[in-house]
């Protein structure tokens, strides 16, 4: 095998509107199997919906937010949703809930809310930044 590679993975397509979270998860699993590292996962634009704690698909469908959460926790990979994208689209953590006096929060652990600086840092630190977009 060639030398181990570090990836930053950016997901911009939402589950149940695109295949992006699915393809990205398959890729991420195979990358780890090949001995590579995933530095971080960054959700941008409509991709932030993957971090919803309230998504409730029918029980016979794959639950992409849960599948991603479990993968991130098992592999101890940090993951963040872009704060500007997330606030507009109603994906909120407890800090933002308090700041904006909202009735609830709905961010699924281990996702965090972070600025685009996390993405810039990923670009700099990782050997590759890979994007998984919506199909539209």
């Amino acid at each position: 095998m060639s030398k181990a590679i570090a990836y930053t993975i950016v997901i911009t397509g939402a589950p149940w509107a695109s295949q992006a979270p699915q393809t990205a998860l398959m890729f991420a699993r195979e990358a780890l199997l090949a001995g590579h590292r995933i530095d971080r996962v960054f959700l941008y634009g409509d991709g932030v919906h993957l971090a919803s704690a309230l998504s409730t698909p029918p029980s016979d469908e794959t639950h992409w937010p849960r599948a991603w959460s479990e993968f991130l926790e098992q592999q101890n990979i940090p993951a963040a949703a872009c704060i500007a994208s997330a606030l507009r689209r109603g994906v909120i953590d407890e800090t933002e809930q308090a700041r904006y006096e909202l009735a609830a929060s709905n961010l699924r652990a281990p996702f965090e809310i972070a600025g685009l600086g996390e993405w810039v840092e990923g670009n700099l630190k990782s050997d590759r930044t890979l994007y998984f977009h919506g199909s539209h």
Partner: protein
């Protein structure tokens, strides 16, 4: 009040086609005359032998084949789109009626809607 639900998005990459199917099944459940029309890359919903287990999705082939039983009056597809995507009688699912004129097909329905 007959309704035509049009699908122009390809399968699996987005949810629009599934949500179009839900619409037409819902019309049928309330005894409203309804049909499906597949155009553009949407015709790829009609290819037989779809095997989406590798992408962890469910096939809609079964749902489509059950459509007439549930009261959906027709499954229509634009012939030129089928030809463009290499869909022949051998590869189309059963029960599809090909149309040579999308405008004429649309004229036959009081309501025409996309899922998204």
């Amino acid at each position: 009040m007959n309704t035509l639900i049009v699908v122009d998005q390809p399968p699996y990459g987005s949810w629009a086609g599934r949500e179009a199917l839900d619409m037409v099944f819902s019309l049928a459940a309330f005894d409203q005359p309804s049909a499906l029309l597949f155009v553009g890359p949407g015709v790829n919903w009609l290819r037989s032998n779809q095997a989406p287990s590798g992408i962890n999705q469910k096939s809609v082939e079964k749902n489509l084949s059950a459509a007439p039983m549930f009261g959906v009056e027709a499954i229509l597809a634009d012939r030129s789109a089928c030809e463009r995507f290499g869909l022949t009688e051998a590869t189309l699912v059963a029960g599809v009626t090909l149309t040579d004129s999308v405008p004429d097909t649309l004229d036959g329905y009081r309501h025409v809607a996309f899922a998204g």
